[in-house]
């Protein structure tokens, strides 16, 4: 057939383009681990053998665990083409404070209460953004402010402490003890923190959700093009709601660990997470335009953020310079991200 020949000719021209996109996909998937390797080498040069010591690796992992847990969830929001969940900070704070407040009712109620409070945030976000198509940034910013108000009014603007909340009852005190021990539980002779295990479990769950479930595969279409997904018989509202719910659930887990680690429930617990988590997620190759990126990559992004902070601290870069570096790294990553999107034909 003549059109076959024409097609073949057209494709010949195309091949070059696919090669580039294939290569860029590989770079997107694995590139981040090349950065991990480079940072490892840099770390080794700076601290020699000490860098790969159990102690240092543990401290890197512990340091990234809180961000990492949150990123596993945020990845879904980015993947659904809703850019960022600006209500992460207050979701983290709310779930932490809720958990601390519920300690007198036992550790199970405390944890479940914290998770439920956080997850509820995701439901509200999901309905407004997924169903009614609210502007995701403006809405989550607004809701963050509402939550901030609720949390501050409910607790009178003060911090709460597990042992103080528990009061005199021995059962409650035991629960408070248990609560604060979450962040201090280690496996394998003290080398593997519970937080890291939870992070890895959540990443596995996220990986399965995104690649091996109907939800994940539908979210891919929803993220690429909402209208197409709607007209393909995909329940777009439900899919986006689920993405936000998972995101908030992960944030709630972060919130509980955060409160447990600091032994404080405070409205300022989650400050800065909206930004640092987005950095890690984008670094891991999630595309802001939606529907592109992998959980494996996001995990790499989390590692890089952790190692970068670790190395900066090891070299002795002061906090303020670290802000600057983080900001510049973020902008650079976003620029790369936007550029490769444009190469894929979508700006």
């Amino acid at each position: 057939m003549t059109n076959k020949a024409a097609d073949a000719a057209a494709v010949k021209k195309d091949v070059r383009r696919t090669d580039i996109s294939k290569r860029s996909i590989i770079v997107n998937k694995l590139g981040i681990y090349i950065v991990v390797a480079i940072l490892l080498v840099v770390g080794l040069i700076i601290k020699q053998g000490d860098y790969v010591s159990i102690d240092n690796l543990r401290s890197i992992l512990s340091a990234v665990a809180l961000t990492g847990i949150c990123c596993a969830g945020l990845a879904f929001v980015v993947y659904s083409a809703n850019f960022n969940d600006m209500s992460l900070p207050m979701t983290i704070a709310l779930s932490g404070m809720m958990a601390v407040q519920l300690i007198p009712f036992g550790i199970v109620v405390s944890v479940l209460g914290g998770l439920a409070a956080g997850t509820l945030v995701g439901v509200v976000n999901g309905v407004l953004i997924g169903k009614f198509r609210a502007n995701p940034i403006i809405w989550t910013l607004a809701f963050n402010l509402v939550l901030s108000g609720i949390v501050r009014v409910a607790w009178g603007g003060s911090q709460i402490y597990p042992d103080v909340v528990a009061g005199d009852s021995p059962a409650a005190l035991a629960a408070a003890e248990q609560f604060t021990s979450f962040a201090r539980t280690y496996f394998l002779n003290g080398s593997l923190p519970l937080m890291v295990v939870v992070m890895i479990v959540l990443f596995v769950v996220a990986y399965i959700l995104l690649t091996r479930t109907k939800f994940g595969n539908q979210l891919k279409i929803v993220g690429s093009n909402y209208e197409v997904a709607k007209l393909s018989g995909i329940n777009t509202s439900k899919t986006i709601i689920l993405a936000y719910v998972f995101c908030s659930f992960c944030a709630a887990v972060t919130g509980i660990f955060y409160a447990s680690q600091t032994k404080i429930g405070a409205y300022s617990n989650g400050e800065g997470y909206d930004f640092s988590c987005l950095t890690a997620v984008l670094l891991g190759g999630m595309m802001l335009s939606g529907g592109k990126g992998t959980i494996v990559g996001v995990f790499g992004g989390v590692l890089v953020v952790g190692m970068l902070n670790n190395i900066m601290t090891l070299i002795g870069i002061p906090t303020f310079q670290q802000y600057l570096v983080t900001g510049l790294v973020f902008l650079f990553v976003v620029w790369l991200n936007t550029n490769s999107e444009r190469k894929l034909g979508r700006a």
């Binding site: 809405w139 607004a142 600057l324 620029w335």
Partner: protein, 346 residues
């Protein structure tokens, strides 16, 4: 048709003037608060609205053009640090210090503008990153410490001087003048009108030969300039500048965002006014004052403006969601519908 028009007009009226209605409601509530209607209280309301107003102008300007500048809070903080740093630490005269503070604001505005217009990064993502760059640079400069006016309180005192009878300080008058300048620029100059067209429909702008990249960069620079200036004024007025100004209590960014949205600026651009934003800021600050005497809790203030903002966002979202359903309606079929059913609304 008549009835629908009327209903629309009413809803539209409330919607268009919601900033003023909000202010009126707060003023009524003020009747029940102690010492609300005093010259002293009004002076303090006006003075504390100044910083928010500058940030609000920057934010509104960008939003009219269809962008979001999340770095306005830090931009103002940077202005504050720079002016006092230059004056107190480096011993430069006030005028030079102000020029440097404004210049640095303009520089970061340029940075934002280039990221958005040339690198094509979503504005809220780009400015989210710029925030941290500014935070880093600012803290490196001042070493994370507060900078104060040392000894030289002349200008600080001058700004606090109030005009006779009216509760206006010099500080507030400068703020007012800035609002007027920006209102005039936006409504009366070609540049200002182009900002609206850019935000309203890029296609229209393109066909009319309006250079969108250049204008976007200028818009972000203006936002940086006005925020830098506002921050600098605030620092001089209060006599100190801290690098955490943008984070303390209710973040100024959130007040600016809330005021912009309550003031009726369209989230997608093309519509809005700095005067409405200013009115909303006055209403918010007055509400804070009322609440301090009635409720006595600072926390309630956050909750209230949070709810006000969320309410407006939900309202806009739902009205857009409903409007979507009648896009493409054919007028002749609509007339037929009215004839056939006697009903007016679909």
């Amino acid at each position: 048709m008549e009835t629908t028009k009327k209903v629309k007009l009413n809803a539209g009226f409330i919607n268009d003037y919601r900033a003023y209605i909000f202010l009126a409601a707060v003023l009524v509530a003020g009747l029940f608060a102690n010492n609300f209607y005093t010259v002293f209280n009004f002076t303090s309301i006006f003075n504390s609205s100044a910083l928010y107003t500058f940030i609000g102008i920057g934010f509104t300007l960008c939003m009219i053009a269809g962008h979001m500048d999340l770095s306005v809070g830090y931009m103002a903080t940077l202005g504050a640090i720079m002016v006092l740093g230059m004056h107190t630490l480096s011993g430069l005269p006030w005028a030079v210090s102000f020029i440097i503070a404004i210049g640095v604001g303009a520089l970061f505005g340029l940075f934002n503008g280039v990221l958005v217009a040339k690198a094509k990064i979503h504005s809220f993502i780009a400015t989210l990153g710029t925030q941290f760059v500014i935070k880093g640079i600012m803290n490196i400069y001042c070493n994370g410490a507060e900078i104060s006016v040392k000894g030289d309180y002349g200008l600080t005192d001058a700004m606090a001087v109030t005009v006779p009878v009216l509760p206006f300080s010099v500080y507030f008058l400068i703020t007012l003048a800035t609002v007027v300048i920006f209102a005039v620029v936006l409504s009366k100059t070609r540049f200002g009108r182009n900002v609206y067209i850019l935000g309203g429909n890029l296609e229209t702008a393109w066909l009319a030969g309006i250079k969108s990249d250049k204008n976007t960069i200028v818009i972000f620079m203006l936002s940086g300039i006005v925020c830098g200036f506002g921050g600098a004024l605030y620092a001089v007025y209060t006599g100190t500048a801290t690098p955490t100004l943008g984070e303390k209590g209710i973040a100024p960014l959130m007040v600016a965002l809330t005021a912009t949205i309550i003031g009726g600026t369209d989230i997608n651009g093309g519509k809005g006014s700095v005067v409405n934003t200013f009115i909303s800021i006055l209403a918010i600050v007055a509400m804070f004052s009322v609440m301090t005497t009635i409720v006595g809790k600072f926390e309630m203030q956050i909750l209230f403006i949070g709810i006000a903002l969320a309410f407006c966002v939900i309202y806009e979202t739902l009205s857009k969601y409903n409007k979507q359903k009648t896009i493409g309606l054919r007028p002749n079929l609509y007339n037929e519908y009215k004839k056939e059913t006697g009903r007016q609304r679909i």
